[in-house]
Symmetry: C2
Subunit: 207 residues, 2 copies
DNA sequence: CTCCATACTAAGCGGTTGCTTAGGTCTAAG
DNA sequence: CTTAGACCTAAGCAACCGCTTAGTATGGAG
């Protein structure tokens, strides 16, 4: 994951699918505010002000504040799933390492989005939550599948596959909580560190 | 950590220092509500109702809603620090394993408190946050110290001590996010699983 | 030009929030 | 009985919330 920012600091390829531009600016403003203060502490006036519009402008593009959250959560989950499963390696050890490197560094680089994704699920309506939970199920299955592939190939030594997969996922997700830009490690360094630690956890021969 | 519940399901040894009993009931009600809905989504009326009192009763015992949060956060941090450092083992490998087992299972067993501790820091006033951050610094130092002790004794193989300590702490803390009672694993089983995974991460000889 | 759809704002509505005030009830000491 | 003080409630206040309504500005089609 490399960040290719344009002229505008808040421009973020995560939201490129969102149109029109005013709706995208609103989403980016909402994601930033939800990430810092949390969904419930953020007012629709905050979001509109950060997007440079009036409070009523929110409701031109979105039905409610919760729908803003849902769009952020849905797109964020879909993006993180594609980051995790988009690795090209086929060797189980290299594949798990690459996936963890990408997934962990995504949670650092895009910690703003990732925090909304990971910590605001309970603010979604039951219908919207169901959509997102399905994406989360696929994320869990992808991690578990990579661990199982290594075990099946005899490359990993794991007494509890489900437990190891849980820990790997948990470790990567929690990066979003503690990471802060300008800290000791870059997102890429975190990815490398975590890839190594995960290979140790699954008992892989780390070349 | 063993749970010794009395006649009342919400009774919790974590809050035994809080008096009078009405103030303790209020804290327990607040912790339960903050844990489920989050600080900002919880109203003082919710808390009072759960404690079986009128909305105004909150302010007999606490200056503000934020002071309720601070007391929960302060006591919760102090408890988790003592759980982490209270292990009696001296051998570095057994000591780290015991500390991780206790710390991870605490985050499961007391996930209600732990969620407030880990996810509501930003709702604290700057003064209260400073108190809590000092406790968090000591928790980090304790974990790092245990990893360093194993390296110094030649029992661990760790290329990046600070990074490994960060990952160990992060892994245990995130238990509070995903754990749910009645799930696949008990807190004790989570402690055992995590102790094993952590010894693998630090390259210890796991007997 | 008119017509019309899109994108936006000013103003404000009903409801909820954290917290306060004024007063009531209980227990125990004098 | 009187008094003091701890504990609690009923009622409500000012501020703020998500969201709506009514109306304005803009730009392209006919």
């Amino acid at each position: 994951m490399r960040t290719t920012r344009g002229e505008f600091a808040l421009l973020d390829e995560t939201w490129s699918e969102v149109t029109p531009p005013a709706a995208r600016r609103m989403l980016i403003a909402a994601a930033a505010a939800f990430s810092v203060r949390g969904y419930h502490a953020t007012t629709t006036r905050d979001i509109a002000a950060q997007a440079g519009m009036s409070p009523a402008a929110v409701y031109i593009h979105y039905r409610s504040k919760e729908e803003l959250l849902f769009q952020i959560s849905r797109i964020g989950h879909a993006t993180s799933l594609s980051v995790l499963t988009g690795v090209s390696e086929v060797d189980p050890t290299r594949r798990l390492a690459a996936a963890v490197r990408a997934f962990a560094s995504w949670h650092a680089e895009y910690h703003t989005t990732a925090r909304v994704v990971q910590y605001e699920l309970s603010a979604l309506t039951p219908e919207h939550l169901a959509d997102v939970v399905e994406l989360r199920r696929r994320i869990e299955a992808a991690v578990r599948g990579m661990v199982e592939a290594g075990v099946a190939a005899g490359a990993f030594d794991v007494p509890d596959v489900r437990g190891a997969a849980l820990a790997v996922l948990s470790l990567c997700i929690d990066v979003a909580r503690w990471y802060q830009p300008g800290g000791r490690r870059t997102p890429a360094e975190i990815g490398d560190l975590y890839a190594d630690l995960v290979l140790r956890m699954v008992g892989a021969d780390n070349g």
